[in-house]
Symmetry: D2
Subunit: 474 residues, 4 copies
């Protein structure tokens, strides 16, 4: 038996959420809702930590475990989390470190009481920092970068006048991607690396303040989106409701992950002032312009290809239509019992709408091709159902390089585009034509903003990648 | 805390599946896949029963429990189910009888060995039959109709020459809806009530035969659709691979549930020779013809409204587009912690794509309005996001009467259309206009076939409803 | 890995409990306590069924599952069981039928509403009764005798004026061992087979009445022991608190299971007017008289051999002492990971007190020898610890015949005493001498009462055993 | 509902176990057996960590969770723990810190790879050490002393030539009680504080070496007891099977916890060359000599009072006998549903053997009186059962002072002996006489060895207690 973990699918490596209710009400339900809305960013484990800013200092209650938000948090567990300040985390990790020890938020005791930390992103210098800390006697109980960050904050706090000051000094040593939400006994802090790789935004509902990886999580708690935390910015909310911003770590040229727009983020989110929905519509339109084709139907590979497919339809004038049914009950824990060779389990997750595609020339829009096997499978499904032609359009350039900033784009040798020309790929997946979005047009996905990271396509890493291809973990 | 059970949503009350591998291989994995594909028909409990037609007679192994298919069936549990003939069941029930005793398949010992029964539908004369049986000393351990059917089959078997003969004699006493898959020590039987209310079809893969509520489940096991079991037909497969059909219970005018096409079934299924997908496209087209409106965007309420919305788009020429994001991680067991009045949990399950609807006149297509509260909520969401007009189109006539044949359309007093005019409903849900599919056009959803049941809309019950509004249970 | 199920140990096959609170308070907590005190009679599964005699007729709530009482009944599950009348059951079964379907109490609907039945014992004519019932169309969902009994009661109720009358008429057809507690919508009934094989007693606390397999369960709920239900007696308690007794099924010569005194029952119970404690002390004294030996220490194999060992000490004048430590944390579900041959897991469950036995001649008292392997192991343990002599004394005659009345004494060919002389057994277990209680003295264990069943020792079955060695199941 | 946690009972705060199989076989099964035998030392949580000394350095697999050993370790979980070196832990904690974060063994990464640590005991200077570490930037993820120890070892390792050298240097800073088993990538280390408060011994089976809190755990794995780790000694076993001993931290006057002999340890253990069984027999004899009484029966409160009761019987000539039945199925997780005042749940756990005590003058021997309520309850039970006199004898002096070295003897104000004279206690518990063991005789329990700690009785703390009555946690 094998799980349905699909190596073809790319995985984000975390979502973070934070709340501070200045009126003193319990925030665990809000974190629960917020994490549910961020579940697409990590389905492996999750956790919530809360404390009461009006109670004794440093008492943090937390629950962390493997599983989806609604698997981990029963009514009893949520009820046990009393407190008006809280942070939460959803996580995806590489298989090797999928253990309970690595779940977040990380809760630590240090010289000034307690901290709860939730982190999204990967550091490129985590090994060096660990080594450096170990050289002075540090011990590590996890393999996540968050623990390194916590250590640095704790050490810097010895000489910094405030926890936010310590965060700033720690940031001076961190290289790579991190969006952080940190809860001290009396403050809630949101911080983002100077490149702004991973998203983080601020929301508000009456006297309650929020940090969230994506704005869709603010919608889930009926909070109003205020603004993004800026690259390199540290935003601190204190008990009096004052908000302080420190932008001294900002750099000139941020590098937002372009793939958040293309694939990771939910289309109802707005990141760094750009609507993810609009971004995908635009990607589809560009594709239609760059790779036109005569066809009867444009369809998206659910769920991530749907919006770009609509963009393609808008751009090309070819009607958009559903061609697939996705089984939403088949989740991460679905087992695939091995049976006859005939019973592959392929059509459990995704089935084709024969009557929608029979006798038609189909444009199939997807967000990426990693190894190519999934695309080949789906193209075949369409043809078996009677599609006369299948034209594949990918709303991103080909993956050529690994990512060190928080996603699991694999090593080059596993990337089909690294080893094959586009023509070869087209043939391997059985398509009648294949077109990728041209890398030169990526800025259009961000309304013309050129401060993005496209290293997985271009190899232009905004921060030098770590030696030995060792990636951090969040 | 309350669960996310949504009284606005209609619930099917079961799906059935059966397999017979004449070559002797284990069938539990196939049943598992088949039930996964039928999960939309019942998410409350499920079960699999298998036996070995070449082993000692009457040894049945079964696992039944509350939960989704992939929650109930671990690798170990599936591995324990050895046998080459099997039946499976997924179930939704009214809250009152949501107990483990009522899970299916029902496995019984009787004079001729064992039977495993899986049943979809509701009898209208279950109470009378129970009373009759009790008068001769019968005892009941469940409250499901399946137990009544099992009793009748067992009693008829005393005088019938075969199990399929006993099924036939039992059917003579059953009134109402039932699609049955029955496994005896050496035979697999599929049977359908004379009205053909609920679907049931036959599939084959090499030497393996299948019965399934919907053809999408055959796709899941890579089997080929052979044909529907006909209304009133009993199909028997024996150990030699012979297939016998008994149509002597057939009647002149079957009455297929029209709501299977409109809502219950998966669009990739084909029922009684009609594609569900085509049926919904047609519903949308008729709506566009009957209730035209000037608008900028047609959208469907996910997931059930999407295909009809595309039909509306095709019929009207207004472009189709997604307007919502559905959170597929929010399942049946999701808890809604009570928090402030502000945090309603409404936007956890469904959020609106602001950039898709802002400034637009939107046609929102849905399959039904039950109590009206959900529709009102979604209309408001669209308007809050900037839609200038919201025109609601329902791809079915208004619900006016309860269903006694296997769905949970509630009693009349809870149906908004029973107590309000269409104008009133339009006002109550905050729409700018509202149009229902006209009942006179329903045959078009079935390619002109008029053998359908539309009792929930028309009150024309093909079988007289039970006294006292007592419904059966599957 | 193997479980710690020890084939050497004999297993009782059930305990029953019933409560009726005439003041209307919930009884589930009492049943929970009562079953906990009866847990030694069955550790495989358990269940509680309750109903409210002042509520609507026939509404029974029940929870039944595999596991110990405190594993199955969480706070939530107990809280859900509202009602002032209830029955409970603990069960041990042979491995083959250790499935949830067979858990008790059995709850049925029949012509007069509902019944909850809890049963201890084995029928010898269950197969015939099943066959007879099946011939009239009965269906069976379990393999337990309780279902047969329920059927008979339901059928007899058609012609009997009351449920207790139906129980009486059903009893006329039952052959074998049964102690029953039955709950109808308004009555609680305790009944015992005419031979009185298995115990059942009546207790009272204010306006609350109890039935229990053993009096120790009455102590657990602070109830006063009233009297035993007599062999063949049916005791009915109605809503007015009236108690009716029907002794018309009584026979002249009951046959109480003598092994309840020797092993099964708790020493703090009193059964059929005889203290189990006194009975075991007497067994030890008789042993000391029949099989005297010179020794320094008398010890019992925990826990069942301890009281008889004390009796031996009293009878012989040799001092009693503990020689073993039993690990009470090693329960039914303890796994035995296979490791080196050296690591047998033997001393996990039982270890010897070296300093108590070193250099001593030890008399080791146990209740039985089934296959002999356990005895051999323990004798070796004592010798390894330095005991100079080990004299084994068994407080029962040798097992020679299987039991068909509710215990799992195995078939003759598996009984060491069936195939070996006492001298041979002594040698096989490595003892210096071996003495069994003489069967002629068994009446002394019951204060001179000769109405006991010793069929497992003598082969004198009070009821003819079933053909084909097929045992019933409770 | 309340749990059965009984504040009257004293709780040990941990047991440790370690194995090194030089032949390379997996040791997790051995640790599992060993921990099962030590379960009496901690029933709240447990854990096992293993690594492979022939595999890549620093890969540790561990499973830690709340629950008993056989609840936490399923077959699958044990199978996942591959490695030939391992440490294990069972834990009891005060309620406040009963969280998963605090389970052991603690597994850390540090400058030299990984360490797995299992610890029994309480430090008195943990707060100071934590403060000191925090002042240099340390972060803490648990509240257990083990983390402090791990930190010190890691820091000392920076300057020490070996891990055992680092342990030694760390020990120079630790004050209080600790028995440690530490696993480095290639070595297994057992160490004991200079006072030797908590036990730790060495065992061997062929090429496999063991450390265990008590020798009974060596019996469980069929290992031979070699010797105790001496107070202040560090024993290191390397990959070549060499054993190194460092006794340089030893002090002149160790202080073994005398209460290990009286209550905590299993009677089949031998600690610091004294048999626990003999020690308790001796305690009973001294009691008989110091507090003689005319009586008919000596009995022990199970299970801890039994051996001392036998000693009393030997000393006094009064016959020993069982007077109670203990329900071994009522464990730590047993809930006590609140019912009527009458149903206290008292007799669920312990019932009296009426026939053993009726009409008799009873000497009841127990190991301690903490708050007095349990004793009062049991005395009443005996009298209710017909005992004419009840003379209570306690095999220890009265508790007057709290313990800071690894047990939960509560604060003085909760100790009945702190606030009442012996006469008053006798009256409060309803006894006819009451006698405690005289503190002056304690050395006799250790064969004349005077190197014991009796601070809970005498207030003579071998190490000054911490300020503010703050106890450490293991």
């Amino acid at each position: 038996m094998i799980s349905t973990y699909d190596p073809e699918e790319l995985h984000e490596e975390c979502g973070v959420f934070g709340v501070y209710d200045l009126d003193g009400a319990d925030v665990a339900p809000s974190v629960y809702y917020g994490l549910s809305a961020l579940q697409h960013r990590g389905q492996e484990s999750c956790g919530i930590a809360v404390s009461d800013t009006n109670g004794p200092k440093g008492v943090v209650k937390s629950v962390r475990d493997m599983g989806l938000v609604n698997e981990v948090f029963s009514k009893d567990r949520l009820d046990s989390l009393k407190g008006n300040i809280g942070v939460g985390h959803v996580r995806y990790s590489t298989a090797g470190a999928s253990v309970r020890e690595n779940t977040q938020p990380l809760v630590i005791n240090y010289i000034k009481g307690t901290l709860g930390l939730a982190h999204n992103g990967n550091l490129v210098n985590a090994p060096e920092l660990r080594q450096e800390l170990a050289m002075t006697g540090a011990i590590f109980q996890t393999t996540i970068d968050t623990e390194v960050i916590a250590y640095l904050v704790a050490r810097e706090r010895l000489n910094a006048p405030s926890v936010e000051g310590a965060v700033k000094n720690a940031m001076a040593k961190l290289k790579g991607a991190y969006s952080l939400v940190i809860m001290s006994p009396r403050k809630l802090i949101g911080a983002r690396d100077p490149w702004g790789f991973r998203p983080l935004c601020i929301g508000r509902r009456d006297n309650t303040f929020f940090f969230a990886s994506e704005s869709c999580a603010l919608d889930a708690v009926e909070a109003k989106f205020i603004r993004d935390v800026e690259p390199g910015e540290i935003v601190t909310i204190n008990r009096e409701g004052q908000i302080f911003s420190d932008r001294s770590m900002a750099i000139k040229k941020p590098a937002h992950c372009i793939f958040e727009y293309i694939y990771f983020a939910r289309p109802d989110s707005r990141i760094d002032q750009v609507s993810v929905y609009n971004s995908r519509i635009m990607a589809g339109k560009i594709l239609a312009e760059q790779h036109p084709v005569k066809a009867d139907l444009v369809t998206g590979v659910p769920d991530s290809g749907n919006v770009a497919a609509m963009g393609f339809a808008l751009g090309s004038g070819i009607p958009y239509g559903m061609a697939f049914v996705k089984n939403s009950y088949v989740g991460r824990t679905f087992i695939k019992p091995k049976q006859s060779a005939r019973e592959s389990g392929v059509r459990i997750k995704l089935n084709v709408l024969e009557d929608a595609v029979k006798g038609k020339r189909v444009v199939m829009v997807d967000d990426s091709i990693v190894r190519g096997t999934t695309s080949a499978r789906i193209v075949k499904m369409l043809k078996d159902a009677g599609a006369t032609e299948v034209h594949v359009r990918i709303s991103a350039p080909p993956f050529l390089y690994p990512c060190y900033f928080g996603t699991d784009v694999p090593s080059s040798d596993q990337l089909i585009a690294h080893n094959h020309s586009i023509e070869e790929i087209c043939r391997l997946i059985g398509a009648d034509s294949l077109g990728f979005l041209d890398g030169s047009r990526l800025a259009e996905l961000m309304d013309g903003n050129t401060n993005y990271c496209d290293a997985c396509f271009s190899g232009n890493y905004p921060v030098p990648p770590p030696e030995g291809d060792i990636r951090g973990e969040c």
